[in-house]
């Protein structure tokens, strides 16, 4: 399937610091239509579009918007731009290259759910993205597209930018709320869900950057137009961040249903004519897929049966020379470092998982280690209060399924292949 440019229509084309450039390429046409047709129309189109959240959890956007629109009291809109999943950079590109689209989409959300307060929580490391968003917000305010009277609707909507400070966990929506409120970024128990009691206890619509950027497309083309791309259950297009051992790492927009093999071909295939060993699909919170999965359609429904996930759209490619267990060890260490420590299964589980993977990666595995990993993984998945702990074992266990033998017996021994990635650079 071919590469398409819908979410990326303006990226690299329009000056991201110019409202005029954005408008000349169709920007703010969606907001005008929303102002004309009203919130009920937006909600029904969004529901009919089948748009699913692009931050990893794939929750139906329309249902979330309606829940907030129907909630009582003061409402808020939050854009989750704390992109920190290893191997993921799509939201950074959207914010850096098309910041007005994020601002317009949030404004549409504000008008639709009748919120006046919007907030973008941008990953602390993304300085350029935060600066571009601030610039876009300033210009939109001066043009009357944001502020006390949005585009002549008589409705107010404001957006402020908050920078994170280096914590993967703050991408979890309730941890993000705590962080904004000036607390440690530790997740809250759910329920209550953010749509009921979110930021400052108010009903809150929280969407990922990419999810929001789909909304103007739904508004302009209608649900049926949006559904021209993708499959029945995975509608629209998806941004995939292809990195690692491919010829052309980068951001690729394809319709859902494109196969893994087709996506890798777009990125030039495995580099240096080498063979594929595995793909880490979905980042650290994702799963390893073997070369036998190249025909797999990249959809929510297609990946689920094989234990895979679209996740954040990270697609990290390992060629035949890569040390699989060195990578698995890095993933295990990532979770041990990034666990916020609040709940026991995750705090202890990620530590124990790291210890066992360290043994596996150095060829000192004990006979009981695979079972121990499975048990710890089950405990974390079942008992952790947030997605971090619930996904912390996915990549490790999928690697074990891919290479059931001890890593030292395959080409995956970390010590044997320690210098390899560097030798080929």
């Amino acid at each position: 399937m071919p590469e398409v440019r819908r979410l990326l229509a303006r990226a690299g084309v329009a000056d991201p610091e110019s409202l005029e450039a954005y408008r000349s390429l169709g920007g703010y046409a969606a907001l005008a239509r929303v102002a004309e047709r009203g919130p009920a129309w937006v909600l029904s189109e969004l529901e009919a579009s089948g748009l699913l959240g692009r931050g990893g959890a794939a929750f139906p956007a329309g249902r979330k918007w309606r829940a907030v629109a129907e909630a009582a009291g003061r409402r808020r809109v939050v854009c989750n731009a704390d992109e920190s999943e290893p191997g993921t950079f799509k939201d950074r590109v959207l914010m850096e290259q098309d910041p007005f689209a994020v601002v317009e989409a949030m404004t549409i959300a504000g008008l639709t759910v009748a919120a006046e307060d919007g907030l973008v929580y941008v990953r602390g490391e993304y300085r350029l993205a935060a600066a571009r968003l601030r610039r876009a917000i300033d210009q939109a305010e001066r043009a009357g597209l944001l502020g006390a009277d949005v585009a002549g609707t008589g409705r107010a909507f404001w957006i402020r930018v908050v920078r994170g400070a280096g914590a993967y966990i703050c991408g979890e929506e309730t941890a993000l709320f705590n962080s904004v409120e000036g607390r440690r970024g530790e997740p809250r128990n759910k329920p209550p869900f953010p749509t009921q009691a979110g930021l400052f206890g108010d009903p809150t619509l929280v969407n990922n950057v990419e999810t929001l950027c789909n909304v103007p497309i739904v508004v302009l083309e209608g649900a049926s137009g949006f559904r021209r791309y993708g499959t029945d259950r995975s509608t629209g297009t998806k941004l995939f961040c292809v990195s690692g051992h491919v010829e052309r790492p980068g951001l690729y927009e394809v319709p859902f249903g494109t196969t893994l093999g087709e996506l890798l071909a777009l990125a030039g295939g495995v580099w240096r004519g080498r063979r594929l060993q595995a793909v880490l699909c979905g980042g650290a919170a994702g799963t390893f897929l073997g070369p036998d999965r190249l025909d797999l359609p990249l959809t929510f429904e297609g990946l689920q049966p094989v234990g895979g996930t679209v996740g954040s759209g990270a697609v990290i490619v390992l060629d035949e020379t890569a040390s699989l267990w060195d990578i698995v060890l890095r993933v295990a260490r990532f979770f041990q470092e990034e666990s916020c420590g609040q709940c026991v299964p995750c705090r202890v589980g990620t530590q124990r998982q790291l210890e066992i993977v360290t043994r596996l990666a150095s060829g000192r595995a004990r006979p009981e280690d695979p079972q121990l990993l499975a048990d710890i993984g089950a405990a974390m998945t079942d008992a952790s209060i947030c997605g971090l702990g619930q996904t912390a074992a996915g990549a490790v266990l999928s690697a074990l399924a891919l290479r059931p033998g001890a890593p030292s017996s395959s080409n995956g021994g970390a010590s044997a292949a320690h210098g390899r990635p560097g030798e080929v650079v």
Binding site: L128, V162, A165, A167, E181, G182, C241, R333, G419
Partner: protein, 181 residues
């Protein structure tokens, strides 16, 4: 979380001024939700978050010191001890590793001595070269994914983002950044 807390000294004049300046920008009545932006502002000003400054900030915000300390220590980007030179962050996460971050980190170790911290575990032998003898002008550490994987391996030197980073690329950027944090 720092192992050795910085000395519980009262805020210096400079630290108090930095905190007061940051507070003046958020308005008369700082709220708890101003804490994260305030910590960023103070660190941008001073290069780190001295304990005295945090005490002063807690007093001014009417918050218990442990609350402010708890937040400041939670986030990896907040520094709780003074930088030893230009700040250098080197990604050694999955995508960068596949593109040579291991070798890059070992080259940097040879040049600048051991890093403050390894996010992804130690990288082979630390062959300390010049870094061990001379006082390091670079305060470096390895960090998790920086979200620029299409240009792996990546680093941030003195605030400048560097794609396709090599020890040479980094040294050149550090040269331009000077010894200032």
């Amino acid at each position: 979380m720092p192992i050795e807390p910085n000395p519980p000294a009262p805020a210096s004049e400079r630290e108090r001024e930095a905190v007061d300046r940051a507070l003046a920008r958020v308005g008369a009545e700082p709220r708890r939700s101003d804490l994260l932006p305030l910590l960023h502002a103070v660190q941008d000003d001073l290069g780190w978050l001295p304990r005295g400054a945090l005490h002063h900030l807690a007093d001014r915000m009417n918050l218990p010191f442990p609350d402010v300390w708890g937040v400041a220590t939670f986030y990896a980007l907040f520094r709780l001890d003074p930088p030893r030179g230009t700040i250098l962050h080197v990604c050694d996460d999955v995508s960068c590793r596949l593109r040579g971050a291991d070798v890059l980190v070992r080259d940097l170790q040879a040049r600048y001595g051991p890093p403050r911290r390894f996010a992804g575990g130690a990288h082979g032998d630390a062959r300390n070269g010049r870094g061990a003898a001379a006082p390091p002008a670079v305060d470096w550490e390895t960090v998790p994914c920086l979200g620029r994987c299409e240009e792996a391996p990546v680093a941030v030197a003195g605030g400048r983002e560097l794609g396709h980073a090599t020890a040479g690329v980094i040294a050149a950027a550090l040269g331009q950044a000077g010894g200032d944090a």
